[in-house]
């Protein structure tokens, strides 16, 4: 209790302090600061935009927080005082630095230190670099343990995401208790598993106390106690206090008189009464119970022989919940009392919390679907369909046959996915406006349901491409601006392009011919046939037609075609693939097969062998079903990245990586890659970083050891080690089932509660047929004496039971 008051008091204090602790340095004060040798966190900026403004607010808050740790927080206005090295270059504005004296301990992206919690946690983490051990694997943790045994206890924090309040809480605790305990931070899922956590999918932060100091033999493992409460400063503090408290307190007072630290920490206390004759046994029982309930319940052993103990003899135990009176009971077994606490008394408190959580989660009227919610937030916007022609039953047929290409979107107004896509669709329409031969149209299937049925549209949204005199073509690409735009532009060209001379072939392959498509895709695929009479030509043409808009295909059916495969390992007919000007061609033999098989063959040869994975192209590569050898490259194109790419390419060309899909993600172009790394490893290590994931065997993610240089030789060695099980996985891909995200709103249960008979099946033998008639007759059978009378009772029609 007192703690809570204290906190409240402190909060009120801080909020009343209006003077900021954030300092601003001029070049002179900066120089002085460099000489003091003190630790400071400095941000250099020259102007303020909304993002920076937010950051400055957070920085100011962190100044107050970090002052307590002797760290000054400083900003430097570069437009006033240009400080060499820091006030220049691109990194200005986006970086903050941690100095000790004039030495830079670490630099941070302001994206990383985005708020006060992130600043405090990252700064303290850097400052405490040597105190707090960072472990990845169970093996590393065991090493720390054995070093600490008989020496000091260990506090292990599992922080899945850095920079959040939990991380800060752990760092602050480490700062305060760092000399007393060995602090360990981890983010790996394997450590979690090692600590006995079953549900690995939750991204909850956790903490354990390893009792290493008291182990009697160095070979014994350190017993551990998990902290069951959420990770925050108060809970950690309480928890550590509890760990310090004796396992069992002995007393000669009545339970209500005993004062133990637990009561002050808001923790229940269990009292056991001991008789002089069974003292040893009682003590042992108390010890066992104490171990089982450590961290959650305090244990007091009360000696009955004392005259101060007045409790009736019929009770042998008592407990006291925080802020409640002592309750007495009779204990039958030690298990019983553990059960009582774990399943009832503690559970109750927990349940309350959970219920609160649930209510919070299933606030039923909040949209929990990102697409629906984002579309819903636009509900006051009128959709501007100006550049898109809205078709009706009357105009549909005429419109779709007018232009070379009419693109038609079939949508529902009330479908969020459709309405999200229609924004992209309008963007494409705007981009293509004025272009000859292309028209973008849309059919609202909520209104023109007949068109949609006639066109066999059963999936929404659907995009169909209409050309005069041809069956509609289904657009099968990503439902996004870029993909659709590219598709339409490519569709305008013919497919395949018929080439008539070797010179044309050369120009086609090098991208000179049809160069306007170069920026859309550099890949060119050419079908080579010895003559137009070749059986495969029609198949190829049909395949090309199916791939219209997706690929740029050429057809060279000519006697000169032979020249293009001369000296290569394949005979005609063949596929020649160019990935851009100057890149050596690849050649594949072209078996005679159906157009659809050809389509998949062509799609396959088009795939890059060392692709950069993007949001738009990932599905094509995942389809290959190979484990990924995934290189993450930072935002800035550094030489390191270029080198890393080259190092992987090397074994690639020699075919040593054939069982893998080597690929890379550029975090600048695909920022979501950062979240992937965090999910894989629990943190973002310095880039570039190489991981292996999506293995057939399952869930492990392996990290190429950061200390080893990223070189072809090392990479191959590492792959070899992984395959032989010599590498420890660095993370796990959870096999989470995607069940319903919120609890079910059960109408039946509500009916049963509010109208108990309403939803219940009838008892057998009740007649259903003709029931109303019988009842009706009974109802109105006139009493012999009673004469018919006008139904002047206005209730009558309503009273009659309707069926």
């Amino acid at each position: 209790m007192c703690i809570v008051y204290l906190i409240a008091f402190l909060f009120s204090l801080t909020s009343e302090q209006c003077s900021s602790k954030l300092m601003e340095d001029s070049s002179q004060s900066f120089m002085e600061r460099m000489h003091t040798g003190k630790t400071s966190f400095i941000y250099f900026g020259n102007h303020v935009n909304p993002t920076i403004k937010l950051f400055m607010e957070q920085l100011e808050m962190s100044a107050d927080a970090l002052q307590d740790y002797g760290i000054s927080v400083v900003k430097v206005n570069c437009s006033k005082d240009a400080i060499a090295n820091y006030c220049t270059g691109e990194k200005l504005m986006t970086k903050a630095y941690l100095f000790r004296g004039s030495e830079v301990l670490r630099s941070f992206d302001i994206d990383t230190v985005f708020d006060v919690n992130a600043i405090v946690s990252h700064v303290l983490f850097s400052v405490l670099f040597n105190e707090v051990r960072y472990v990845h694997t169970p093996a590393e943790l065991l090493r720390v343990e054995s070093a600490a045994k008989q020496n000091s206890d260990i506090v292990v924090g599992h922080i899945p995401v850095l920079g959040l309040p939990e991380h800060r809480a752990l760092m602050e605790a480490a700062f305060v208790y760092g000399t007393k305990y060995q602090f360990v931070q981890t983010s790996g899922t394997l450590v979690l598993k090692h600590m006995g956590v079953v549900d690995l999918s939750s991204s909850q932060a956790r903490l354990w106390f390893l009792h290493c100091k008291g182990v009697s033999r160095r070979s014994d493992p350190c017993p551990s106690t998990p902290m069951r409460k959420p990770l925050n400063t108060i809970n950690i503090h309480t928890f550590l206090q509890l760990m310090e408290a004796p396992l069992v307190t002995e007393s000669v007072l009545d339970p209500s008189e005993v004062d133990v630290v637990h009561l002050h920490l808001g923790v229940p206390v269990l009292y056991l009464f001991s008789q002089p004759q069974t003292q040893h046994l009682d003590r042992a029982t108390a010890q066992t119970l104490g171990l089982q309930l450590r961290g959650e319940v305090g244990l007091v052993l009360i000696h009955r022989d004392s005259p101060n103990v007045k409790t009736s003899l019929k009770y042998n135990a008592a407990y006291r919940l925080p802020q409640e009176d002592v309750k007495y009971f009779t204990l039958n077994s030690a298990e019983g009392v553990v059960k009582l606490f774990k399943e009832e008394l503690l559970q109750e408190q927990k349940l309350e919390n959970e219920e609160e959580d649930e209510e919070h989660w299933s606030d039923l009227d909040i949209l929990d679907d990102e697409v629906s919610e984002s579309v819903y937030r636009d509900r006051d916007l009128m959709l501007d369909l100006e550049s898109v022609i809205e078709l009706t039953s009357d105009t549909f047929q005429i419109t779709v046959t007018q232009d070379d290409i009419t693109v038609v979107l079939f949508y529902f107004k009330w479908d969020a996915v459709c309405m999200a896509f229609i924004q992209s669709y309008i963007e494409v329409a705007d981009a293509l406006e004025g272009m000859n031969g292309v028209k973008l149209a849309a059919v609202n299937c909520g209104e023109w349901t007949d068109i949609c049925s006639d066109q066999n549209v059963t999936s929404f949204p659907t995009v169909l491409i209409y050309r005069p005199m041809a069956a509609a073509q289904l657009y099968r690409g990503m439902l996004g601006t870029k993909s659709l735009h590219r598709f339409i532009l490519l569709s305008l060209g013919s497919s395949p392009y018929i080439l008539s001379s070797s010179a044309e072939v050369m120009s086609f392959m090098e991208g000179d011919l049809y160069s306007k498509h170069m920026y859309l895709t550099p890949v060119r695929v050419l079908g080579l046939f010895s003559s137009t009479h070749d059986m495969g030509v029609t198949s190829f043409e049909e395949a090309a037609r199916l791939l219209r808009g997706e690929s740029i295909l050429g057809l060279f059916a000519h006697k000169e075609a032979e020249q293009w495969v001369e000296g290569l390992s394949v005979n005609l007919p063949a596929l020649l693939v160019s990935r851009g000007p100057g890149v050596p061609y690849e050649v594949y033999s072209l078996p005679s097969s159906s157009p659809t098989d050809l389509v998949s063959l062509i799609k396959q040869v088009e795939l890059d062998r060392f692709p950069e994975l993007t949001v738009e192209n990932l599905p094509w590569y995942l389809e290959l079903g190979k484990p990924l050898l995934l290189l993450f490259i930072g935002k800035e194109d550094s030489t390191e990245s270029t080198k890393a790419l080259a190092e992987i390419k090397q074994p690639l060309s020699s075919g040593q990586l054939d069982s893998f899909l080597p690929c890379w993600i550029h975090l600048g172009r695909t920022p979501v890659g950062r979240s992937i790394l965090e999910k894989y490893l629990g943190f973002v290590p310095p880039l570039p970083v190489l991981v292996m994931s999506q293995l057939k065997t399952g869930e492990e993610v392996f990290l190429f050891p950061p200390e080893r240089p990223l070189m072809a030789k090392n990479i191959l060695q590492w792959i070899h080690d992984v395959e032989n099980g010599q590498e420890q996985p660095a993370g796990l891909i959870p096999d989470g089932k995607w069940g319903p995200p919120v609890p079910f709103f059960d109408f039946l249960a509500i009916m049963d509660q509010e109208a108990p008979t309403y939803a219940v099946q009838r008892a057998p033998k009740m007649k259903t047929g003709g029931r109303e008639d019988h009842r009706e007759n009974k109802h109105v059978t006139p009493n012999q004496k009673q004469t018919p009378h006008p139904s002047s009772n206005p209730q009558a029609p309503r009273q009659h039971s309707e069926l």
């Binding site: 007393k180 439902l479 995942l622 004469t787």
Partner: protein
């Protein structure tokens, strides 16, 4: 949805049928008029009313060997006479503000179904309540434009069951002795025999079918009408301005269609008499059993005769007045109703008896019954248990009970949903006829019930589509429902299946069942009816959707198909047995169930529960993340993104999603909490162990 395939199969079957029947029936169809001639058809449709023609259209579309037999010279002859006062009370709403053809059928109660968009009733009449003459005209147009095969002037006198190669068939004989051999008989003869109740003096009563329609004929007359249905009120309304007094007598109180949602109950368009009754303008309603009454002429005693002689000759022009009395008051011995005295009249015993005054006319308006008389004992369906036995008893799939291969269509099939739904009316039975046709196709031609195969990720939008436009389940609420057979990653969507036949789903539809369960989509009115116009009649909170009073969609989820027993024991008033899970979509004032918070999301969550999977939509970027960091990404990503059809979105939308905390922000996976510093606390609370660490690391 492949239309081509069933069409192809249909053509194959057709050619087989043609080949098979070529030799056998060649002689018959050509010269049907000869004496004792015999014609055989696969399907015989009896009656060219709306139901017969509707079935004719479907048979013709599937190119079956069929004939429609009609005894009159044109279609829809019932409507040449009825309603007697020539105003249809079926809504012909032309302007709905919508161009959705399916949706507009919800408000077009007269058109038959066809693939011709122009063949709608609005072509014939623009009136909201059209003239009855327009309906036969419309039916003629329907026959002509679709080229339906109708044989007029064939008055079938007898129908006998007969064995055709081990299957029960039917032989129909017309007035000329021509017999029609029918493998399948479709009875759409409607209800046209006036319903009568036997009581003393019923011969003194005129029938609705023959009363004059000129109001002048009722000038200053007191009229007693037996019945309180639409025909009774229609008759009363037409003479309201001429008759002196109109009383309506029948067992049950008036049921107002706007209260009961049953279009067969009294429609507001006919209810002017309620006004004059409640405003005490000499008209009135009385309840009592019809079997207990007698209509009598007063035996005039001497005194009275002398007194009244001069006047009565003038005023009643020779017509004797009629009294309503009770059988129990009549002479027990002889039932001689010619000797009626004052003591035989209730007014003698109860001086303020409501109907004590005599009437000039008594009119029977008790509706119609099915004509059972043409059926030979071998082919006669039983009388329905409901609807006072006026209708044939039929199975849930509209086959006569005990008469295999004979189906009953149209109004005559109303026993299935009598006083519940719209199966007795054109706007309802056009859909049941379509359902029966699908059953015929499966049973006799092995063509399974049409189904749309949908990926599960599309199911929600498909349900919303049906809920927002489908006319069949909307009109035939509680009777026809859409069935969704769950098949793992995809499902099969069957439209407008007769719900009561659900236990026979597999056999009737030809769609096999799996253990994945099924969903049924039904439109229902609320079951707890309160004051129809009173406060609190409308529910707008989706969490209380089950208390909706107005028509609204309800979804039932079953693990396994309900059995006949489950069906019999279903909760009182429910169309279906208690399911594993149930979802009501809250009623909507505009009948537009498309709002994200009140309609879509609760529906999605219900489906998620039934399918035990997350059905949320994700942008491509989220799917990218989930595809790489989870072994099985959510369904939407699997069925969209991973099939290269991800929904990309744009930065504007992502911004919204991120602000809502739904989409990961790659720099900060979770939005930072608003926790402010508590380090001061540490400094004090943990003072004893404050770090002595220096920073010279």
């Amino acid at each position: 949805m492949s239309v081509i395939q069933p069409l192809f199969r249909l053509l194959c079957v057709l050619s087989l049928v043609l080949a098979g029947s070529g030799s056998g029936s060649g002689s018959g169809s050509g010269s049907g008029s000869g004496r004792n001639a015999s014609v055989s058809h696969e399907y015989c449709v009896l009656g060219a009313g709306p139901a017969g023609l509707q079935m004719g259209y479907f048979l013709s579309r599937s190119q079956r060997d069929y004939i429609i037999l009609e005894r009159n010279a044109g279609p829809g002859s019932f409507f040449q006479i009825y309603p007697r006062h020539r105003k249809l009370i079926s809504i012909n709403k032309i302007y709905t503000g919508r161009r959705n053809k399916e949706f507009n059928l919800r408000h077009d109660w007269n058109s038959l179904l066809s693939d011709r968009p122009s063949l709608l009733f609005q072509r014939i009449s623009r009136e909201l309540y059209p003239n009855a003459d327009d309906f036969p005209r419309y039916l003629s147009t329907f026959v002509k434009e679709l080229g339906l095969k109708v044989k007029y002037g064939a008055d079938i006198g007898t129908i006998k069951a007969s064995d055709f190669n081990g299957n029960q068939g039917y032989i129909l004989t017309d007035q000329n002795g021509v017999s029609y051999q029918c493998s399948v008989l479709l009875v759409s003869t409607g209800l046209w025999v006036p319903q009568q109740v036997d009581f003393l003096g019923s011969d003194l009563v005129e029938g609705y079918e023959s009363i004059p329609t000129d109001p002048e004929e009722f000038k200053d007359q007191a009229v007693l009408i037996l019945g309180k249905g639409n025909s009774a009120f229609e008759t009363a309304q037409s003479i309201l301005g001429r008759a002196s007094r109109i009383h309506l007598y029948s067992p049950s109180p008036v049921r107002l269609a706007w209260q009961t949602h049953y279009v067969g109950d009294l429609r507001a368009i006919n209810n002017e008499l309620l006004d004059t009754y409640q405003l005490k303008s000499l008209d009135g309603l009385v309840e009592g059993r019809l079997e207990d009454i007698a209509i009598v002429r007063r035996e005039k005693d001497g005194l009275r005769r002398r007194m009244a002689k001069k006047r009565s000759q003038k005023s009643t022009e020779g017509k004797e007045q009629l009294y309503l009395t009770l059988t129990e008051l009549l002479d027990q011995n002889g039932n001689n109703i010619s000797k009626i005295t004052g003591q035989n009249l209730p007014g003698f015993h109860t001086d303020n008896f409501s109907l004590r005054q005599p009437y000039d006319r008594v009119i029977r308006c008790l509706g119609f019954r099915f004509n059972f008389s043409i059926f030979d004992g071998s082919a006669r369906p039983p009388q329905s248990s409901g609807a006072r036995g006026r209708l044939p008893g039929i199975t849930a799939w509209y086959e006569g009970r005990g008469t295999p291969n004979m189906f009953v269509l149209g109004t005559a099939a109303h026993s299935r949903d009598y006083r519940m739904s719209a199966g007795g009316f054109v706007h309802g039975f056009r859909y049941t006829v379509r359902a029966v046709h699908k059953i015929l196709e499966q049973r006799y031609h092995n063509i399974a019930w049409p189904a749309t195969k949908l990926p599960i990720s599309q199911l929600q939008s498909w349900i919303l589509r049906r809920v927002n436009e489908a006319s069949g389940p909307y009109q035939m609420f509680g009777v026809l429902g859409d069935i969704i057979l769950l098949r793992g990653s995809y499902c099969e969507y069957l439209e407008e299946f007769p719900l009561q036949a659900l236990p026979q789903l597999s056999a009737l539809s030809g769609r096999p069942l799996t253990d994945q369960g099924l969903l049924v989509l039904v439109m229902q009115y609320g079951l707890n009816r309160t004051d129809t116009l009173g406060p609190g009649r409308a529910e707008s909170e989706w969490t209380k959707a089950w208390r909706s009073n107005f028509l609204h969609p309800v979804l039932y989820y079953y693990n396994t198909l309900p059995t006949e027993k489950d069906m019999r024991q279903r909760p009182v008033g429910w169309p279906l047995p208690r399911p594993e899970a149930l979802h009501h979509m809250v009623e909507d004032f505009l009948t537009e169930w498309d709002q994200p918070i009140s309609h879509s999301q609760p529906l999605r969550r219900f489906l998620e529960h039934c399918l035990q999977t997350d059905l949320r939509a994700f942008y491509a970027e989220s799917c990218f993340l989930l595809s790489l960091t989870s072994r099985t990404p959510p369904l939407f990503c699997r069925q969209g993104y991973l099939r290269k059809q991800g929904i990309v979105g744009n930065s504007h939308l992502w911004q919204h999603a991120r602000e809502a905390g739904l989409m990961a922000d790659h720099q900060r996976d979770i939005t930072p909490g608003d926790d402010t510093s508590v380090s001061e606390y540490l400094k004090h609370a943990g003072a004893a162990v404050v770090s002595t660490m220096n920073f010279d690391l």
